[in-house]
Every structure is written in C-alpha cells, then in structure tokens.
Amino acid sequence: MWQWLFKLGSPKWFYTMSGQFMPWLTVITVILLGVGLVWGLAFTPPDYQMGENYRIAYIHVPTAIMCYWWYGMMACFSAAYLIWRIKMADMAAKACAPIGFTITAVALFTGSVWGIPTWGTWWIWDARLTSTLVMLFLFAGVMVLRSAFDSVDAGAKAAAVLSLVGVVNIPIVVYSVEWWNTLHQGASNLSLSNTQANPPEVWLPAFFTGFGIFGFFMLALILRTRNEILQRERRADWVREIFRPGKGEF
C-alpha cells in the first residue's frame, strides 16, 4: 500500500492515472447524481409540514455536510505537504480551496432559499447557517492568503499553516455557535435536520445525490489539480512532450 501512496506523490503518475480514471468517474457520478435527483425530485412523496419545499434537502444536506469534510480533506493535504514536503499534496490542497468555497456557497444559498417559506426570512442566525458562514470565510481566507505571496513556495506553506489552524478551530467554532444559538433562540428554532423518522423512500435518494455530488466535486478537484501539475511541472520532459507542436489532440 505504501508503494501506491508513494506513487501518488508523483505528479506524472497522478496525471496519467487520473487521465485514465476520469471517464469512469464521470460516468459513475452522472449516474448517481441523475438517479438521485430524478428520484428525489419526482418520485418521493411530499412532506407533511413543508410540502414540496423539502426537496431542496437533497442538495442542501449533502453540501452542508460536505463543506466540513472538504475542509478536513484540504487540511490533510496541507499537513502532508508541511510534514513530508510532498508537492503533489500542495497542488491538491490549492485546488481544494475554491471548490470548497463553492460547496459552502451552495449550502448557504440552498439553506437560505429553503428558509424563506419555512421561517419567513432568507437569513436566520441558526447554528448551522452561522457555522457554515464562518466556514465560507475560512475557505476565502486560505485562498486570499496564498495569492498574497509573491513566492509560490511561501504562499503554499502559509496557506497550509492557515488550513491547519482553521481545522483545529472548526470544531470549536461549531460547538460555540451551537451553544450560542440555543442561548439566544430558545424554542423557536426550527432545526433543519429535524427529521422525524422519515421512511427510507424519502432519504434514500439523498444517498445517491450525496455520493453523486461528492464524485462531482472530486472530478472538479482532479481537473484543477491536473492543470496545476501542468503549470508547475512545465519544465519536466514528460510535460514538454505534451506541448510539442504537431502532437495533435491532448
């Protein structure tokens, strides 16, 4: 297994492997997402309280959960880069940040839109919305910090340090915001995850959309990382081979 992990640290290996692997991932993702969305949108019964509006959950819940795990993944890459100086890890970490930002944006937007008929307002200082907003700021911070450095190397290390500081902070922030919310909201708080024993036919599509969305963003991650590899390794022979004129299709 360590062999495989070492290989993963090689940009060339990752590039060629991902090039072969991507079509399959695309197919699986499209199937999962397609099944989940069609099922969730058209084939599940309406909710007793929220009517058809709850269908937003099929995209809101996966993205809301995923934004935290995505940050954790970015932090793992950052740690690998700082500890073992694996350049590949930094390229992946760099690609993670903007994608994580958009995941969080989707979670916030869908949550807000869900809230308008449910709570009568598009923003509420609900524990989860507030924590997710802080998460948005953390992703933005990592991106902004990296770009503020002139040296690519310094920017990479700084972004990695910030990601790790952020990951230590996230559980504390989530806990504090939850506590703050119960202190100030009291009984009127309608928790979004207030699922009262929904039958499997309601939450099964969420599995499909969940994995489909995850696959999708992983695809985006691979695409961005491949671009990063081409740029950073442009002096390597195997990269120059790709760009030789007359080579035709890439």
């Binding site: 911070g141 503020a148 450095f149």
Partner: protein, 221 residues
C-alpha cells in the same frame, strides 16, 4: 526561565519607548465604543442590552489592530531572522513576546472596559463576568492574532488580510465571552463558561507558538 524574563523585559522596554503602539489601540477602543451610542441612540435600556456585545467586538478589533506592533519592527530590522537562528528555545521566546504584547495591549483594554461598560449602562451584576471573560479572552485573541500576524508580516501590502484571516477564528472567543454576561444576567452560574474559555486559553498557549514558529519561518525566508 532567564530567557523568558529577559525577553519580557526587552519587549516591555521597547513598547514603552514607542507609547503610540500602546495608546493608539486604546484610543481606538474608546472612540469605537463611543460611536455605538451615537449610531443606535442613547436609550439606556437598549444600550444596556447590547453593551457587552459592543465592548467585546470593539475589544476584539482593538486587539487585532494592535497586532501590527508585534513582529513588524523585528522583521524590518532583521532581528526576527536572528531570533529564528538563535539556539535559544524559540517556543518560549515567542510565548514571552506574545505575553508581553498582551500586557501592553490586551490588559489595558481589560482595565478600561469597566469604565466604558458603565457608560453603556451595563448592569452592575454583569460587570464581573464581563471582566473575567475579557481577562481570559484577550490573551486568546492576542495568541490567535499573533498567528495571523506571523503569516502576514512578510507581505508588503497586506492591508486588511490579517482581519480576513483572524476574525473568523475569533468567533468562539466572542461567543463565549459575551455568553458569560448573558448567562450571568440570566441568573445562572458562569463557572462552566469561564472553564471553557480557560480551556481555550490553554489550548492556544500550547498550539499557537507552533503555528507562529512555522509562519515566521515562512515569512522570513
């Protein structure tokens, strides 16, 4: 132990030589607090309800703004680089630096807070919880701010980058700090919250210097 004492002495000496670094954040604290009644009206009943929030947010901003004096002067004259190369234990030197910075920026804020809080009509029984929260909280803010400062000290036009990085990390301290006042006013005990804040302080003392060391090495390289 000697090196810590020497560092603290040096930092305090330098700080008192440029009184602006001490006075300016305090002035900001006072003026910013004054802006709020001007902005929301002088109704004492309303002010008393938002007083702890105003004090905490402006204190947090004042601490963050004061961070500039922490590493910048050393960075610019090259002594920061020397520090990183010295055989002395960097962990404790950094703790001493941040600690002395708190003594001249965070602690005065805690001392001034009661005056400003009573100007904002904070109820008397909330005063002690507010101070306790600030006393434990401002060192945490200084430590987190120091991490952000270490990351950005080498950048030429960082502007408000420090704020973008550090303010989201301040959220738990703010929440629990103001929470001590709310729970005290609600008649409940605050020892649990203070313990939580204390735990965060201990965590910050243990981990922040590590992040600061890594960040300083990046900035100096």
């Amino acid at each position: 132990m000697n090196i810590i004492a020497a560092t603290i002495r040096r930092e305090l000496l330098i700080a008192f030589r440029s009184p602006g670094d001490i006075i300016n954040p305090l002035m900001f604290f006072i003026i910013a607090v004054t802006l709020f009644p001007l902005g929301v009206g002088a109704d004492t009943e309303f002010l008393s309800r938002i007083a702890s929030g105003i004090i905490w947010v402006t204190a947090l901003l004042a601490v963050m703004l004061s961070m500039d004096s922490l590493f910048r002067a050393d960075y610019e004259d090259g002594s920061l680089e020397q520090l990183l190369l010295s055989p002395q234990p960097l962990y404790f030197i950094i703790l001493a630096k941040v600690g002395s910075h708190w003594l001249v920026s965070g602690l005065p804020i805690v001392i001034l807070a009661p005056v400003l809080a009573s100007m904002l009509a904070l109820p008397a029984e909330a005063m002690l919880p507010l101070l306790a929260g600030l006393l434990i909280g401002t060192p945490i803010l200084t430590l987190i701010g120091a991490v952000g400062m270490a990351l950005t000290v080498g950048l030429s036009r960082s502007g408000l980058l420090l704020a973008v990085l550090v303010l989201p990390l301040y959220v738990p301290v703010l929440v629990f700090g103001t929470g001590t006042v709310s729970t005290a006013l609600g008649g409940l005990g605050i020892s649990g919250l203070l313990a939580l804040l204390g735990a965060m302080l201990v965590l910050a003392i243990c981990l922040a210097p590590l992040a600061i060391m890594a960040a300083l090495r990046i900035s100096v390289s």
